[in-house]
């Protein structure tokens, strides 16, 4: 019977269907090719060119990559960016997991309402969210005014803004929805009956969490971490807007090379290095099933 069915599926109809599939995929493929793959490939090509007298010369050279590894500035910048990205990932995880768990444990309207509150910031402009952080941290901001109001300080604190701490905090706040979402999604995939079964078999709430709920939500945690890590590594607006003089990161360096420094080949090389790091992060995350959680 199954043999007959297998034969049937090999009838001309199949070829026909495959043709239909390619027809459907064609516009998307063209889109991907022209707007993503080709620009990235052009970047790759750019990164092997050189700049002489403020003009880009199409001359093949590994110079930009050599410069990255021999100039002590860039590896240090990259390391600093990696440390920030790593730290932001850890902190957002610690902040977001309990929140996602809390939303998951609610029911009905309150649940959708809470989840919406997490998502609302994503509907606003990214720059607005960063400026909002300036309003909170600034010398005339929420925190300083509050501390002055309760008499804890007399002069506004200057340590809150325009330093690495501000970058760190702003990234944590603005990116945290990207951590809450996949964790919440993976928690939602834990059937209620599993939690009931665990308690039915005698486990306490804590045992149920560590043995059943958390292991099942790990792919969501990995997916969220991947988002946060890549996004905070590539972010250049936050260092520019709240980082002040300490705000030099690898992404800001890239932005400057494409901007005022007018050294596109070097910028492209730095981008290529970041891209390799980002892609490796995605590959590693995928081993934990992270991409299925998105």
């Amino acid at each position: 019977m199954s043999k007959i069915r297998a034969n049937l599926s090999m009838q001309p109809g199949k070829k026909h269907r495959r043709f239909g599939l390619y027809t459907l995929l064609f516009p998307t493929s063209v889109w991907l090719l022209f707007f993503i793959l080709i620009p990235i490939a052009m970047f790759g090509v750019y990164s092997f060119w050189v700049v002489r007298n403020e003009t880009i010369v199409r001359e093949f050279s590994f110079g930009n990559y050599v410069r990255f590894f021999t100039n002590p500035l860039y590896p240090a910048l990259l390391l600093r960016s990696l440390i920030i990205a790593f730290g932001v990932t850890i902190i957002t995880f610690v902040m977001s997991y309990p929140l996602a768990l809390h939303i998951f444990r609610q029911s009905g309207r309150l649940k959708s309402l809470l989840y919406m509150f997490v998502l609302i910031p994503l509907l606003t402009s990214y720059i607005v969210r960063i400026y909002a952080m300036r309003l909170v941290l600034g010398s005339n901001g929420l925190i300083n005014n509050f501390l002055i109001f309760i008499g804890a300080i007399e002069e506004p604190l200057q340590v809150l803004l325009f330093n690495r701490f501000a970058i760190f905090l702003t990234l944590c706040v603005t990116l945290s929805p990207f951590m809450v979402m996949p964790i919440y999604t993976s928690l939602e995939k834990v059937p209620r009956s599993l939690i009931e079964a665990s308690r039915d078999l005698g486990a306490s709430d804590l045992q149920t969490f560590w043995r059943v709920i958390f292991p099942i939500s790990v792919p969501g945690v990995v997916a969220g971490s991947m988002f946060i890590f890549i996004l905070s590594l590539g972010d250049f607006l936050t260092p520019i807007l709240v980082g002040g003089t300490q705000g030099m990161t690898i992404s800001k360096a890239i932005q400057m090379n494409f901007g005022i420094a007018y050294n596109w080949p070097l910028g492209a090389a730095l981008s290529a290095i970041l891209l390799v790091i980002a892609l490796s992060t995605i590959l590693v995350s995928n081993r934990f099933g992270a991409l299925r959680e998105i």
Binding site: S193, E196, S198, R199, G202, A203, S204, R211, V212
Partner: protein, 371 residues
Amino acid sequence: MKELLRLGKVTKCFGPVVAVDAVDLSIYDGEFLAILGPSGSGKTTILRLIAGFETPDEGRILLEDRDIALTPVNQRPFNTVFQDYALFPNMNVFKNIAYGLMVRGIGRQEIKQRVEEALEMVALSGFGERYPDQLSGGQRQRVALARALILRPKLLLLDEPLGALDLALRKQMQITLKQIQEQVNITFVHVTHDQEEGLTMSDRVAIINEGQIQQLDDPKAVYFYPQNFFTANFMGENNLIKGRVVDLSASGATVETEIGNVAVKFADKQPIAPIKGGDELYVVIRPENILIGDQAGTAGNIYEGIIRRRVFVGSEEKLFVSPVSSPELEIMIKLHALKAGSGYPSGGLDRKEKIRIGWHQDQCWLVSNNS
């Protein structure tokens, strides 16, 4: 028999819906009790109240005379086999079964030994390393059973345990479940909407509708002597004819119905106490108890009818007959299926043909109007 668990006037509401309505139920040590009812009847809620996933709004749940209505799930000596089995996908079969022992901090050696025993009991030795998604439905079901039984609960609760299996496997698992129950000698409470499943395995059946127990008896009594309209309608395909008692004696009654008077002789199980002259009630006749043609001549209740339909369903044939006196009504008659070519009876049983039907006075009985 010793009483293990008693529900006393247990009520549970979900908003305006009364899911369980002042239910009294005793469960005896070592029995296999089926809770049988249509979906939404409150049967699963009763199970969840016993397990502790819900707390009753009113009433008591007594385990050996101790009220456990507010005892948390993880402190009740009961275990549940869930409808979807609820196996932990992140653990292999061994760890799933060992779970209850692990959270109790039992030694590794003992766990290993008891899990091996449990695997053997459900005929899954050697499956310990597999993960739930590598098992068939029937295998998962047996893992869920082993996981619950390994803790030697006082009561095993089964929530539609066979619902997700195909027919052949379901039949096989019915027998397996009963065998295991006898082997471990643990009280089983089994919730199902499938009548056959309820009747096959259990010692007693509780028929539930609208949050109330309609009838609680052994399977044969429930099947052959339903006590009210709901049970009679729910158990098998009974003919129910509405009527009014016009004559009542200790040994029988005469009921006036739209097909004419029906004489009923009370069997042992027939409760005559609640019936009064003039009561509105239903006469129940099992389709297999109706005689046709010449055979009907000897019966106490005889009616003329017209054949509406004849349906072949394998082992039997169903004949739908409308009495001449009330063409709106259809009475179903079950006959043993006839081999092709052999007429039954000689006159044939074609559509629109006239036929005489009848049944003996002790082959029908009365059920109350209220459900």
